[in-house]
Amino acid sequence: MYQHDVLVIGAGLAGMRAALAAQQAGADTAIITKVTPVRSHSNAAQGGINAALTHLGDDWHEHAYETVKGSDYLGDQDAIEILAQDAGRSIIELEHMGVIFSRGPDGKLGTRHFGGQQRARTFYVADITGAAILHVLFEQILKAKTRVYEEWFVTSLIMEDGECRGVVAMEIKSGKLEVITAKAVILATGGCGRVFEPSTNGLIVTGDGMGLAYNAGAPLMDMEMTQFHPTTLKNNGILMTEAARGEGGYLLNSKGERFMEKYAPTFKELASRDVVSRSEQTEINEGRGIDGCVLLDLRHLGREAIETKLAYINEIAIDYMGFSLADKPIPVRPGYHYIMGGIKTNVDGLTKIPGLYAAGETACVSVHGGNRLGANSLLDTVVFGRRSGEHAAQMVKSKPAPKVSEARVQQDEKHIKALLDRPANGDSVAKIRLDMGNAMTENVQVFRNEQGMKTALADIKKTQERYKKVAVGNKGKVFNTSLIFALELGFMVDLAEVIVAGALARKESRGAHARTDFPDRDDVNWMKHTLAYNTENGPKLDYLPVVFTQWEPKVRSY
């Protein structure tokens, strides 16, 4: 049994930022993570991080407004104001920690253009921004000597008297389960990208935190809001950053036309992601695609710009497609990328469960509403990661250490033993996961409709049934990844159901949720957040009004 004041689950940007804040505020803090911190999926973020820096002549109101507009008026404006106002400080803080942000000619921070925003306010490190920030936060964690339970997998939250008092977790190397108690637990477990197949997300991005919170009784919010990124590779779903268009790249159809001029005359390729993805899909559906894709053309940017500012995606093109972006346009298509929804929190990261916080992609504050602007997610992780850490550290000061019985591990031990001892006549994790991913990609896509989503829901229910008999092909204790994949899949089949249920219920089109049977936004009936609670009969839906401060809903055009 281990004990801490604040226990952060996850060592991505949100988790490490939260832990640093909690530790600096004097709390005994530890991080627990299923992968070594630098393997966290934040490292895949390429393009950059948004902020309106006053001393560079920008204004946070503009950033906030464009975020509100990007969210299709589903984002809570109080939270968005905090995000935009705190952005400047966050960037400077990261710079002071050592992030090697790109510079302008005067040696001050330099910016690039990103989608849905008039002004260039995206700070970046070539096209490895996420990795560059993640590694610097890791440096800070090493400096602070924060305790990290590395390669430990959290199997459940300990709930007593309606309060979260710690976690049960497995040390992957030994297979041993342990209780770790904490006065506050912060979930910073990232998105749930593997619910879809293919996905830009890494194989570890399985929504565990959302599943843990949902199982513990916390509601998930706006889970139907899933973002499809306009430029992903067809076969493996790997991302070509929006920065490619930010630096001036074109999207072309089979006739060689820059089709975005038609759909978004002002912003063109740099309209909001939902808009660009729909435009691409329309081109493809109407027969102007190439093999299910459109083309991303960067040749006019010149070899030098490509090899310095977009070196990583150029490396990907060479590795996986066999050519340089300087020589040939690359086929891309909309692909699953990000979830705007997540565990419902307030602006301090607190969920509906006392003692339980959430931050980063796993949380829904909500600042992204129906559609996230590119480069706002990294910002979300550091702003709300920090706020959660600070709030938790204050909260634990007046709280006695929880007493939890060591016997609590037995519950999870029994569950895992049952999973391993099961007769091997069920389907494998891999088969069930693939069917789930395909069902989602087929029918819960860029364009959705009632019939398709009903099919998806039925398919997901089938995968849930099959999951009850899933066969785990490895019975060992040491580093049993097979067991971990099974546990992750358990979370994912439920999250898939929540996504589809929310999407089916929302009878309008807003942000990334575009329905062919309800093509218009319906502010009278649907200007509200979806909440999903876990019950024995699946998700129970409820709704919550959106918070408005200064921006009235308008028709969205780019």
Binding site: I92, S102, G107, L109, I128, A131, Q140
Partner: protein
């Protein structure tokens, strides 16, 4: 295309020694332009769930999937099947070297991170913190992108020839990381850092074998960074001849004499035969080496063809002179 993956397996839970470590062959149907990681995942998902490896991003950015393919370390998600295919369409996959194996293709990377920790891997600016960003040139930042591209995969550490014999060496990744701070105009501890990296196990222990440069999947060029640190040490006049430099000299002498490395002699020549405390300090290293069945014999035989080795080495020195290259600081 039908290929065979010959995979080194290790199961610490096996009941008998011979069942613990062995090679297993898997047949996979793999498109030529797919990656070795694709094949390993296919095996793990559809043939043998017990096959254990780390991987996540599939895009050469998370650093999880470094292993040895056909004897050399690299990222499996960046290694194309068609390039890795050997005779009879076989690809040999083993865990990384220089780090203990936990299970199958998973190694314990604590040694890797201990070394990173040892170089004080965080920015240490001096002076008051400005309200805004620190001013720096874009060129300097771009130069650092090259080093910050390190994804801590461990491939260089796996194949570093010095680490293989001397676990005290900080190694390529940690020293590249060290360079990242020395080259950062915002860091104020250059001199202190260089003084530290000068010591035994530091920048002078690299033998410039190039392995790390060749296996690094991200073009970090650890050896080049170590050489830049040496130049910096020269400039600052902090070059410390006591151990490190002698270690490099001893390394060369050893190769010249016997055609290969005599590790025991190397240690003695580095510290001097009568430096009893230091030699005793090396005992744990020797014991670990012995444990790994790598205890060097004190009386090495010359390899056949030692003459050619000597010729190559003197030729290398000549070429350096003729090309007017500033000889590598050593």
């Amino acid at each position: 295309m039908q290929i065979t993956l010959k995979v080194k397996r290790y199961n610490p839970e096996a009941t008998s020694e011979d069942k613990k470590s062995y090679f297993q062959e898997y047949k996979v149907d793999a498109p030529a332009d797919s990656t070795v990681l694709d094949s390993l995942i296919q095996i793990r998902e559809y043939q043998d769930e017990s096959l254990t490896l780390r991987c996540s991003c599939r895009g050469a950015i998370c650093g999880s999937c470094a292993m040895r393919v056909n004897g050399h370390a690299g990222l499996m998600c960046k290694t194309k099947v068609e390039k890795a295919l050997g005779k009879n369409n076989v690809i040999l996959v083993e865990p990384m070297g220089n780090q203990p194996v936990v299970k199958d293709l998973v190694v314990d990377m604590s040694l890797f991170f201990d070394k990173v920790r040892a170089v004080e891997p965080y920015l240490q600016p001096v002076g008051p913190e400005p309200k805004e960003e620190r001013i720096a040139s874009n060129e300097d930042m771009l130069h650092l992108v090259g080093v910050m591209s390190c994804i801590m995969c461990g491939a260089c550490v796996s194949d570093c020839t010095v680490l293989e014999m001397d676990p005290n060496f900080l190694g390529p990744a940690a020293l590249a990381k060290a360079y990242r701070f020395v080259a950062d105009p915002r860091d104020g501890k250059t001199k202190e850092r260089i003084t530290e990296y000068n010591k035994y196990g530091g920048i002078w222990d690299c033998t410039r074998c190039m392995e790390c440069v060749q296996v690094c999947p991200k073009g970090v060029d650890p050896m080049g960074r170590i050489m830049m640190l040496r130049t910096k040490a020269d400039e600052l006049g902090t070059k410390d001849y006591s151990y490190g430099v002698r270690h490099a000299d001893a390394f060369e002498d050893s190769v010249k004499k016997g055609g290969k490395l005599n590790e025991a002699e190397l240690v003695i020549n580095t510290f001097g035969f009568f430096n009893v405390p230091k030699l005793l300090g090396m005992l744990p290293v020797a014991m670990r080496a012995a444990y790994k069945r790598k205890m060097p014999s004190l009386f090495h035989k010359s390899i056949p063809g030692v003459q050619s080795v000597r010729r190559i080495m003197s030729k290398a020195h000549e070429v350096e002179k003729v090309q007017g290259k500033k000889p590598m600081p050593r």
